[in-house]
């Protein structure tokens, strides 16, 4: 019996030691994702920290017959913050779930990066320090003494330029064999040090838990009560929060270390261009032009590519499938699957991916943060701040990753953003507007739909600002330095986003498409259609099959359009429906309940209550707008 248990534990341990877990940690915008992608290639999984919605990428690789698992933490500025991402990274490190840390630092902004590193050091996990972006530091004339840094920290330091792939191949061997816990210790204010000494004497606790307890971040430990009292005393004496005291000490230490290893450059790049971008008078027109051009580009490239994909599917998959003459139920299921894949790819690559590439260019040049800064004022009117611009813009591609991007906001802002982002016309809705209104009614009618949606978004935002409880959490956003975009980095970023779409939105699409296919097979859809026939006609002035199309629209927005074409029996919708009908149909399906993938992500991020509220709200908004428009069309 005893032997058995021992055997098990041994095998467990050996399995554990077989795969070394490496975690990449660093500030935002230090090139971490690029390093991660260079190390792991395309085979990346997106998983969540257990029990949370904070995403992290994990990938595995084999180097000299050894298996490694690599985790890419979300970018953080500190480890003692209280936002979800910082909390999760801290927990992960506290539970010692990573065997080695790869701390990525931006050589051009060393001081703030060292601030995080000093905190990382306190977790006492073997670490390799990567001084990334050496190319950029060199351009600025900064000379950094990596060996001296290694000496100060007591762990290996490697200079890299991920963008050129410089030294990336040396990271894994270094992490494997030479990673050491950082021996440099930040000395804090005397009162804090005294408190730490007394904790270790009385409770036998280590330095790290003492520090965290003083900041009130270890709520369940035996230390928390004593620490709370002492922290209050320290705060009283200093009239600063413990966090501020520690932050000041760490910043000073970071400054000291930087002074020892960096020779300041003489050359600073001129920033005239930057001045234009952040001034209201010039920046707002530039922003409008850039965002509009982006959308128009996506539209043109997207519709061209989509046609190609749809045609390929029809010719090579769907027609051959029918030729097989499968049993009816199976045929229905296979058809539903194929059409889901077709639509998924038809939207995914042409629209979403193209959109993500263009957005990544904007992000990599550093333009997005400038736009966010400029938008701060306007966003305040709808209950959010500048930072929310990025998820809102992402929403034009696909609502799913956009909603995943709101997690760093406060509860109040997340609630408001959930409503507003689901209303943003995503690629699929663009397809409806283009396919129905632009083709059969006209360009201005199509643009007027956008206008109506934007007005509704703004009105919704204004109302939500008044009624949503909680705090507004203002913008504190680092302005990413202006850089020339590099193809590799841009594609990496776009591809990582794309994966969120492929792995989260696509599976849901497939499943729900099959379910709907089966429902249709058993006549449930037809029953549904009969039920709503009267309403559809009298209130919206739409034919009965429109309700089925709308129902398919829940699945995927653009399916509303495709189903309409199938059910009406002709692709020339103008011949069976009037312009007013088409217009009403388009606007209802654009506003109507978000697609099922969005609902699922909303549910995961925000819970049942909010996702239900969003669905009900958009449902009624869609119908009410449709009814009003129908009434107006009837009058005139």
């Amino acid at each position: 019996m005893d032997d058995e248990i021992r055997d098990e534990s041994v095998s467990e341990r050996s399995e554990k030691s077989d795969t070394l877990k490496l975690a990449l940690i660093g500030n935002l915008n230090v090139g971490k994702s690029l390093i991660f992608n260079s190390l792991t290639g395309i085979g990346v999984e997106i998983s969540n920290f257990p029990g949370t919605t904070v995403g992290m990428y994990t990938g595995s690789l084999v180097h000299k017959d050894k298996h490694y698992e690599i985790i890419d933490f979300p970018g953080v500025y500190s480890l003692d913050g209280v936002n979800e991402e910082e909390t999760e990274v801290r927990k992960f490190l506290l539970e010692k779930k990573a065997d080695r840390l790869i701390a990525v630092l931006d050589s051009a902004h060393l001081e703030r990066n060292l601030y995080l590193l000093l905190q990382v050091a306190e977790f006492q996990i073997p670490t390799v320090v990567i001084l990334n972006m050496t190319d950029e530091a060199e351009k600025q004339g900064l000379v950094i003494d990596g060996d001296r840094l290694a000496e100060i920290l007591g762990c290996p330091v490697l200079k890299t330029a991920a963008i050129d792939g410089m030294n990336i191949d040396r990271i894994i061997p270094l992490a494997e064999s030479e990673a050491k816990t950082i021996s440099a210790v930040t000395h804090y204010d005397d009162h804090v040090e005294a408190a730490l000494r007394s904790f270790s004497k009385v409770n036998g606790s280590d330095r790290l838990s003492g520090l965290l307890a003083l900041e009130g971040l270890l709520p369940d430990s035996d230390l928390s009560e004593t620490a709370g009292v002492i922290a209050a005393e320290i705060e009283d004496k200093h009239r600063m929060s413990v966090h501020q005291i520690l932050a000041a000490n760490r910043h000073n230490e970071a400054k000291r270390i930087r002074g020892l290893i960096e020779k300041d450059g003489k050359f600073k790049p001129a920033r005239n261009f930057d001045r234009l971008l952040t001034r209201t008078s010039t920046g707002v027109p530039i922003m409008t032009v850039i965002l509009l051009t982006t959308l128009i580009c996506v539209f043109i490239i997207g519709s061209f590519l989509e046609e190609l994909i749809v045609e390929l599917f029809e010719t090579f998959l769907i027609q051959p499938m029918y030729a097989l003459s499968l049993p009816p139920l199976l045929e229905n299921v296979v058809y539903s699957l194929l059409i889901a894949v077709e639509a998924g790819l038809g939207i995914a690559f042409p629209y979403v991916f193209v959109f993500y590439i263009l957005i990544s260019v904007l992000e990599d040049t550093g333009y997005m943060t400038r736009a966010a800064f400029l938008a701060d004022r306007a966003m305040h009117n709808i209950g959010m701040h500048g930072q929310a611009l990025i998820p809102m813009v992402l929403g034009f591609g696909c609502n799913v990753p956009a909603i995943m991007a709101i997690r760093q906001f406060s509860e109040r802002e997340r609630i408001i953003a959930s409503f507003l982002i689901t209303m943003v016309p995503c690629s699929a809705r663009t397809v409806i507007i283009a396919g129905i209104v632009f083709t059969f009614v006209g360009l201005f009618a199509a643009l007027s739909i956008y206008l109506i949606v934007f007005i509704l978004i703004i009105l919704t935002g204004i109302v939500l600002t008044k009624v949503t409880p909680g705090d507004q959490f203002g913008m504190i956003l680092e302005m990413v330095p202006m850089r020339h975009p590099r193809a590799k980095q841009t594609l990496t970023r776009a591809w990582l986003r794309m994966k969120e779409f492929l792995f989260i939105a696509m599976p849901l699409l497939l499943v729900s498409s099959v379910v709907l296919g089966i429902l249709q097979f058993f006549g449930i859809i037809a029953a549904f259609q009969d039920l709503f026939e009267g309403f559809m006609y009298s209130a919206l002035g739409l034919p009965d099959y429109a309700s089925t199309s709308l129902l398919f629209g829940i699945l995927r927005k653009e399916m509303a359009f495709e189903t309409l074409a199938i059910l009406s029996g002709t692709a020339n919708l103008g011949s069976v429906m009037s312009a007013a009908q088409l217009y009403v149909f388009a606007i209802v399906s654009v506003l109507f309940v978000p697609c099922v993938s969005t609902i699922a992500v909303l549910y995961r991020q925000m819970g049942l209550k909010i996702s239900l509220a969003v669905c009900c709200y958009t449902l009624s908004l869609g119908f009410v707008t449709g009814i009003i428009l129908n009434a107006l069309f009837n009058i005139f």
Binding site: S78, H109, R112, R239, A247, T280, D376, H380
Partner: protein
């Protein structure tokens, strides 16, 4: 001996935990009071005469014991000193060395009532920037914030110092303290906006949103955040 001099002596004795008359302790007192060692011995004698201390000459070295009156006067002076000093550093933004020197002079003249009121005042305005630091959920946070955000801000900020939003492009300012909610100030701290640090305003929009340069990077902040950062011009 003048009462103000007694107060200085008692303050120095308590602050330095002087318990006996040794060459070392005499030196400590002499340094603290900025006097010669010979003067100190006379001073201690005078304190004895005023009945603020007793000197027992039993052991190897004479032992100093504070009488009740002596301890009370000394502690009262120390308290006055601390209150004045924190007023100077926090509310007026003076550096700690000159604040301490100034407090040394003024502590003798200030009445207990003045000190009490000053103490309450510091506590109140101090509370504003220390509140909920123990409370990551921001329990009283909304109160403090909405008060500041919604109301006219002059009623409670005008007298503490000037906040960042009152300055213009290209101004360089030193941060005195940040206010309002640990979550907000946490992020500011992590970005390097800590008391004592100098930042330059790179861009300010009409609504008060601004880009500030700090530690070789630039940070964009909303107007309501800018109003939480109290600064002085450098």
């Amino acid at each position: 001996m003048e009462i103000t001099e007694c107060e200085d002596y008692l303050e120095a004795i308590i602050n330095n935990s002087v318990e006996d008359v040794t060459p070392d302790s005499l030196k400590i007192l002499a340094d603290a009071l900025n006097k010669d060692i010979s003067e100190i011995e006379g001073g201690l004698k005078a304190l004895c005469d005023e009945d603020f201390i007793r000197i027992d000459r039993d052991g190897a070295y004479p032992r100093i014991k504070l009488t009740h009156a002596g301890r009370k006067l000394g502690e009262c002076t120390i308290k006055k000193h601390l209150v004045l000093e924190s007023f100077f550093t926090e509310i007026l933004g003076m550096d700690s060395h000159s604040a301490s020197k100034e407090a040394c002079v003024l502590e003798h003249g200030a009445s207990p009532e003045t000190i009490k009121r000053l103490h309450n005042y510091i506590k109140e305005s101090g509370l504003k920037h220390r509140m909920h630091t123990r409370n990551p959920d921001g329990g009283h946070f909304s109160h403090g914030f909405s008060h500041r955000h919604g109301g006219s801000r002059d009623d409670d900020t005008g007298d503490i110092g000037r906040n960042l939003s009152e300055f213009n492009e290209d101004d360089a300012v030193k941060i005195l303290f940040t206010d309002g909610g640990s979550r907000r100030t946490d992020r500011l701290c992590d970005m390097g906006l800590i008391p004592g640090e100098t930042v330059t305003i790179k861009r300010k929009l009409s609504n008060g949103a601004m880009v500030v340069a700090i530690k070789s990077s630039e940070v964009g902040i909303s107007p309501e955040i800018a109003r939480l950062v109290y600064v002085e011009k450098v």
